[in-house]
Assembly symmetry: C2
Homo-oligomer: 338 residues x 2
């Protein structure tokens, strides 16, 4: 029920995703009166879907704390509950990010060894795609958080991009050892000293994101959010300037007829919808956040990210990496008899 054009856009996205991944089965959680008529026109999707009625909807401006307290019968909460209960393998939502994060953290809990979940997403680069995290879940981070983000980003790149040895970079304002905040320099020292399974490249700068210098760019939620949204803003501006350029002369208008197919391909390469689907990493469950302003195609991509994370054993991979790191495992609730 979340997002600018829900549930229509969500149902359409599920229908598109089903064509791509015929093995998908859906629990559609929300207002039955709204979902059922949409499903009536999509027999293939209807055949693989169960509607789970939820009477409440978390609004886009709800505070996370309010959503947590009062939102137990909301579509968002009930969808997360389905993952916690094992009725679903993952949840995909285009709703309120803060509420989704807060509810997912309470219901699914963080993995042993992980203090705080992070939000991760792919961005287009010169070499393909790079994972960027955190994207706003954690405004202030210490060195240990950043090291944990590196581990989670590594597992994400392996699971979704299929990389065997992803390289990790730590976002900073310069490549010299002296630069950056204490947290960044301390995390750099820890990663430099060696973390099992991780290939640490070192510091990277803002322009290394688009260059694809590394496969995973680690940063705090404040800088990550600003980097992602700055990139999205400039991608939009390029196309605006490009459109203006093609309208600027008769010659350009004629040329456009020839180059239109090539430009459509370019648009596709930079299209934010292709990169839709941020994952909340570090939880005992797969939670994917779609852009609220997404359309059906974009939402289908977010479902695709969730699908890849499930089928590539993302959660087990992170657990293994954390175990290799010697992270504490949770103590059993009672001592077993000897």
């Amino acid at each position: 029920m979340g997002g600018d054009n829900a549930p229509d856009m969500v149902i359409k996205g599920a229908d598109i995703a089903l064509v791509r991944y015929p093995e998908l089965r859906f629990l559609l959680v929300g207002l039955e009166d709204r979902i059922a008529p949409l499903l009536g026109t999509l027999p293939k999707l209807k055949a693989v879907s169960t509607v789970v009625h939820a009477e409440d909807v978390i609004t886009g401006d709800a505070k996370p704390s309010t959503a947590l307290r009062g939102g137990k019968r909301s579509s968002m909460r009930m969808a997360i509950d389905a993952v916690a209960d094992g009725r679903a393998d993952c949840v995909v939502s285009a709703g309120n990010t803060g509420a989704l994060m807060a509810m997912a953290k309470v219901v699914l809990r963080t993995m042993p060894g992980i203090e705080r979940p992070a939000m991760a997403q792919f961005v287009p680069t010169s070499r393909g795609e790079t994972v960027l995290l955190d994207l706003g879940a954690n405004i202030e981070c210490d060195a240990e958080n950043l090291v944990q983000f590196a581990l989670m980003g590594d597992a994400f790149a392996r699971a979704v991009l299929g990389l065997v040895k992803p390289t990790i970079g730590l976002l900073n304002v310069g490549s010299e050892e002296l630069k950056g905040s204490d947290a960044v320099r301390e995390a750099h020292a820890k990663l430099r000293a060696g973390v099992p399974g991780l290939i640490y490249h070192g510091f990277v700068e803002g322009d290394d994101i688009a260059a694809g210098t590394v496969d995973v760019v680690v940063t705090d939620g404040f800088s990550g959010n600003i980097a992602l949204k700055t990139a999205e803003g400039y991608a939009k501006l390029f196309f605006e300037f490009l459109r203006a350029a093609f309208k600027s002369s008769l010659l350009a208008k004629i040329g456009l007829i020839f180059v239109r197919p090539a430009l459509m391909k370019l648009r596709d390469r930079l299209d934010p919808r292709r990169h839709n689907g941020a994952m909340l990493v570090g939880l005992n469950g797969i939670v994917v956040k779609s852009h609220g302003g997404s359309d059906g195609d974009g939402f289908a991509n977010a479902i695709g990210v969730a699908h890849d994370l499930c089928s590539n054993g993302f959660l087990d991979r992170i657990k293994e990496e954390l175990a290799a790191l010697g992270a504490p495992t949770p103590a059993p609730s009672q001592a077993a008899p000897v």
Copy 2:
């Protein structure tokens, strides 16, 4: 002497700038043996230039503290000294940013009421240009620093863009009051409460930079540096993708013949050289930093920024705004007799 291709690029830049601003006069500070032959081929520039021999050069990897202690006979230091002595109205350098900042701060001092200088620059937007600051001079900032950056950005936009009522935005990860770090929220409250002469828009997000939502975007040096370099990285990627698109088919290659002039204009609109010239604001003197990798055209633009700041009374404007704010003025060194 600073930058990847100095002093050639610097001398070329001065020559280009002289065509644009015939009233310019230059002190060219550096190794005389290197500068004199270059000047020999440029009689017009030679006629308005004085070469000031400096035996040392601050290298790109020199630590600011080392440059401060040992760099008294360096071209960078002697050029700043010329501003302090009143022999020059401003200094333009493509050298080591950290060293430039440290030396300028010691030699020129910060203005009364300003704790820390900041680095400010224009970025292209949908509506024209926006001032972004700080760009890396201050990694961690408190609320008071951010408010001072707002004042300095305002004066910069008035002096160089000629805006009468620039609007100010504070960069954050969301537009809600609850978002962001303590420093950001506290600065927001101060600016919201009203600062004389400033038109405060409120929080802006990363995508508001390219959208041109406000005329001045205020942030700490870490986020600002990352936003600027991320934008530069994506501008580069965009043209890389565009070139690839035009090579992708015969049709596109034919079309390129027609659209080339329009694309050249587009390139120019996004060209980082057009936006070359970051200013160190908050000092008792005008210090402009050019990109180290700039060419002559880019360096001429940096000289243009310095020219505009001088001729539009930038320093006086900032002083007036600070005075209106009720900032403390420096106590006279001795009490005047009554």
